[in-house]
Symmetry: C2
Subunit: 187 residues, 2 copies
Amino acid sequence: MQALFSHIRQYCDFSQEAIESLGSVLKPVKLEKGEFLTTEGKVCSSVYFVEQGCLRGYYNLDGKEITYWFAFENNFVTSLLSFVTRNPGMENIQLLEDCKLWEISYDDLHRLYKKHTDVNTLGRIINERYYVMLEERFVSNHFKEARDRYENLLATAPHILQRVPLGHVASYLGMTQETLSRIRSKS
Amino acid sequence: MQALFSHIRQYCDFSQEAIESLGSVLKPVKLEKGEFLTTEGKVCSSVYFVEQGCLRGYYNLDGKEITYWFAFENNFVTSLLSFVTRNPGMENIQLLEDCKLWEISYDDLHRLYKKHTDVNTLGRIINERYYVMLEERFVSNHFKEARDRYENLLATAPHILQRVPLGHVASYLGMTQETLSRIRSKS
DNA sequence: TCTATTTTTTGACTTATGTCAAAAGCGATG
DNA sequence: CATCGCTTTTGACATAAGTCAAAAAATAGA
């Protein structure tokens, strides 16, 4: 749980009571490679913090799996659309490695939001960060060509290429696996 | 200011004091078509609420203007990356019509965040909504073909096509103006 | 160590979309 | 109502990336 707390402290101050409240509702979860945290059509009712391992979020679009994020150690993970709206999501979250996670339920989190300003602030800040990251990716993915997108990934997040099968990475970069393979062989 | 308050109430409860505090720091701003709220290289230090008019956010990427959002009545507008990180942004925000806006500064907003839980909650919720919208657009834009993206826009946000020049819309949809023009003529 | 399965690469071909350039349409201004 | 500037359309051509299929390489299991 220490990894989580020290990660949180990077974002904002956190009172001792808030830490304790949070600690009391976190549940440790261990799952194996290939398992799912949520799947299409389900309401995702928890946020997870990744202590160890990696995961991907993907949609099924026209019969194809579209991977649109990866999460690693010290990332928060949920199907945000479903979590926020309380409606069934389109998203699947799958473990790419065996994982150690910390889970907090929607209800517990919202009790903490009401009780501790600190937690509310944390929620807001994490959201801001995730928005900003998505925005950067949105712009670069959609308006640069395939080779640039690959090279940008190499420069900013090479660990993804080391831990994730190429097919998922290709999808994440918005190209086919064949195209990514060709780009790699010519560089 | 009523439009703003009733818009806020759609998201969450808001105490009378929070409303009053907010009201006391909001500044009315009127600007003309073509003017900018922020430009590349500047720190964006305000959030704006659009009472009347429309705007676009765009990046300069490899010498091209990439429009990646539009805002209309009842939307909040800022260069979020710059606003959140306090660093110069890459983004330009330009008025596409004469506008009536309400402005709140970073400092005032963060004073309110500290003082009123309600405002903090509002900030979090608005962020969540904006994240979710961006995510939907990210997936549909990047993984569907040009014609589908256009038809999706027609179905979900036809007002954009009525109020915004085609070149900006094409960029927003991730295609050239020529392609968008051809798609429209063949449908 | 030797299969069996999954992942990655390579090849041949197709196609959607981009590029460049010119024409047409439209709206504002004097 | 004629002209100027901006927006949109059309045409001809180029090309990045997709598709389908098979071979090669890597990984995991027995």
